[in-house]
């Protein structure tokens, strides 16, 4: 067995994750944020490893 199997398995799992995600919470292009946070005037709200919840 080679890495072809494990790499393929990895990509299949990623595809499953995205399919599950889209079944649960589909994307909504009408809620899209500005392309760049820089210059948007909006406060950053994304989740990040270093951030403690307020």
């Amino acid at each position: 067995m080679t890495r072809r199997f494990t790499a393929g398995l990895c990509m299949a799992l990623v595809a499953l994750l995205i399919l599950f995600d889209q079944a649960e919470t589909p994307l909504n292009p009408y809620h899209a944020p500005p392309a760049f946070a820089f210059g948007s005037g909006q406060v950053v709200t994304g989740g990040f490893c270093a951030a403690l919840p307020q």
Binding site: M1, T2, R3, R4, F5, T6, A7, G8, L9, C10, M11, V14, L17, I18, F20, D21, Q22, E24, T25, P26, L27, N28, P29, H31, A32, P33, P34, A35, F36, A37, F38, G39, S40, G41, Q42, V43, V44, T45, G46, G47, F48, C49, A50, A51, L52, P53, Q54
Partner: protein, 376 residues
């Protein structure tokens, strides 16, 4: 058929495959931009770029630390420091000029944070994959990283679940270097580490190969792009925990008893698409970028899988969980805490580096004991 004819045939066969890989990646970016928003498509592209950089130029964190500790070869570590310095030169002025739109990787130094960084440093040497490295290695078909990754995600979810309690064990206020003075101190600190590494280096190893210089420059460019596009620095661990949180909620779990996951900002993200979460997008990009490079290379996926003893696979599961759990307590892994923390002025990034590097000595000793150095 001669060897030369076989090689020509293989090269001809590789061209349509490579075209398909590039077209596939572009289609995914375009589809996400169209159905989710341009920001998300750009972040996926950034993640793909980072994954391609890591895999094609053999840039990493765990391997270079091992090389420095075992063989006193500082090239990889110096490349990391170079990348961090390049990001900080751009990020410090950006953060100072746009305090609401952009945020750094600021986190408090505390007992759990230091302990978490030490454990992370040990665990990343056991599986020879850090936060970014585990994603990249899994994408290129490394079976150890592929097994570690889901447990990394579970550990990240569990660590975040009790993060507030762990932090209450004792932590300083958030300490951040900022402005020109902060940038000078940061660059000086990086120079001191580089000088120590060079002083300890084995003669003849005191230079950074061109491929690692290129990787450092590219990585810095992608990290700055991540900051400008998303408003936050490059991270890994949050997204992995979010994947498990989302699955847990879908399975009927109630996360209201977790101060972390029930906080409004996190609860909102659990109920949104992962394709709108910054760290999830770049994580997926890292996996995909590494896969692209491995599939692109002639024979890149034909490497046989290693034959490891059962204890090695058990150790991989445990180490994978510890990678996720400890990096949440430490407010990030080698990316969120060390790379992004230091490059955006958070002092916890410096403490993380010292604690994790100390842990790496333990991890290097544990790796052969746990049977993870067997080869085919």
């Amino acid at each position: 058929m001669t060897a030369a004819t076989t090689e020509i045939a293989a090269t001809r066969g590789a061209v349509p495959k490579r075209v398909a890989l590039v077209v596939g990646a572009l289609v995914l970016i375009a589809a996400l931009s169209l159905f989710g928003g341009l920001r998300y498509g750009l972040l996926l592209a950034v993640g793909l770029g980072i994954g391609i950089t890591f895999e094609s130029l053999r840039f990493g964190f765990a391997g270079p630390w091992r090389a420095m500790i075992l063989r006193r070869e500082p090239a990889g570590l110096l490349a990391q420091l170079l990348a961090i310095a390049l990001v900080s030169v751009v990020a410090f002025p950006l953060l100072a000029g746009h305090p609401g739109e952009l945020s750094g990787a600021a986190a408090p130094i505390g007992w759990a944070m230091i302990g978490g960084a030490f454990v992370f440093g040990a665990a990343m040497q056991v599986v020879l994959g850090c936060g970014s490295g585990t994603l990249v290695n899994a994408g290129s078909g490394n079976p150890v990283s592929l097994l570690a990754l889901p447990f990394f995600a579970i550990g990240s979810f569990v660590g975040a679940y009790g993060l507030i309690w762990w932090t209450s064990l004792g932590a300083l206020p958030v300490l951040v270097l900022s402005g020109t003075g902060g940038l000078i101190v940061t660059l000086a600190g990086l120079a001191v580490i580089a000088a120590v590494a060079l002083a300890l280096a084995t003669p003849g190893t005191r230079r950074i190969p061109g491929r690692l210089v290129l990787a450092a420059v590219l990585l810095a460019a992608f990290a700055v792009a991540n900051l400008v596009i998303s408003g936050q620095p490059w991270g890994v661990v949050y997204g992995l925990g979010l994947w498990v949180a989302k699955a847990a909620v879908a399975a009927g779990a109630d996360l209201s008893s977790s101060a972390f996951w029930s906080a409004p900002s996190n609860a909102a993200l659990v109920h949104q698409s992962l394709l709108t979460d910054v760290t999830s997008l770049t994580n997926l990009g890292l996996i995909g970028g590494a896969f692209l490079v491995a599939a692109w290379r002639q024979g890149g996926l034909s490497q046989p899988l290693p034959k490891l003893p059962a204890r090695a696979w058990v150790a991989t599961v445990v180490a994978g969980f510890l990678l996720g759990f400890s990096s949440r307590l430490a407010f990030g892994c080698n990316v969120g805490a060390f790379f992004s923390g230091v490059s955006t002025g958070s002092l916890h990034g410096w403490v993380w580096f010292v604690a994790a590097f100390a842990g790496a000595f333990l991890g290097i000793r544990l790796r052969p004991v746990l049977g993870l150095e067997a080869r085919t």
